[in-house]
Amino acid sequence: MAANPELKQQVDELLRENKVLLFMKGTPEMPRCGFSMRVVGVLEQLGVEYGAVDVLPLLDPLREVTGEISDWRTFPQLYVNGELVGGCDIVEEMLETGELSELVGVEQPETVQPPPQPQPTDPQQSPPLKLG
């Protein structure tokens, strides 16, 4: 399925307007997925200004859009200067090495907090429940 051109154009505009842009499930105040929550935690530690898009209301159409823009269909996705940096694994690795601070142009925090335990029971992705 091809991406909706209007939605793709909106995403392109957001990418131009926001140096640091996070596509996530839920909002920074109320993440709806453990992986999204962890990326929010990283950005908050850096103290960097960022835009956040809740993908849940348009999940499948946005998968098509990001698939075309950056060959990546799962969320969260962090973009810096319009380029996909990565999802949770990459963002956490780059926080630890200081690469992310450098990329977004902030001082590396003196102490980097270890990530919270992964929450594999994402409400959107729980394995099927069995009855009987």
């Binding site: 950056s70 060959d71 990546w72 799962t74 996909l84 940096v85 990565g86 999802g87 949770c88 694994d89 990459i90 690795e93 780059m94 992964p118 594999p120 029971t121 994402d122 992705q125 394995p127």
Partner: protein, 77 residues
């Protein structure tokens, strides 16, 4: 639910010379972590390294065998 040995084989075939380990992170068999050290990663961005691993197992993501795939990638020198 994915066959971990098959997933390892798919990655190893796509990235000849790679060291590949696939772990079941939750015991449910569909939230996996792939630890991959590959010579092909040299000089590539992290997201490109992840794209290469993901591409190798795309068929198993598409058919739902793998629901979530975490990747730890580093160049093998």
């Amino acid at each position: 639910m994915a066959d971990l040995v098959e997933i390892e084989r798919l990655i190893a075939e796509a990235l000849p010379g790679a060291e590949v380990e696939v772990l079941d992170e939750t015991g449910s068999g569909d939230h996996l972590r792939a630890i991959v050290r590959a010579p092909q990663f040299e000089g590539r961005s992290r997201i490109d390294q992840h794209r290469m691993v993901r591409a190798a197992v795309q068929s198993r993501m598409d058919d739902g065998s793998i629901h979530a795939l975490s990747i730890s990638a580093e160049p093998l020198r």
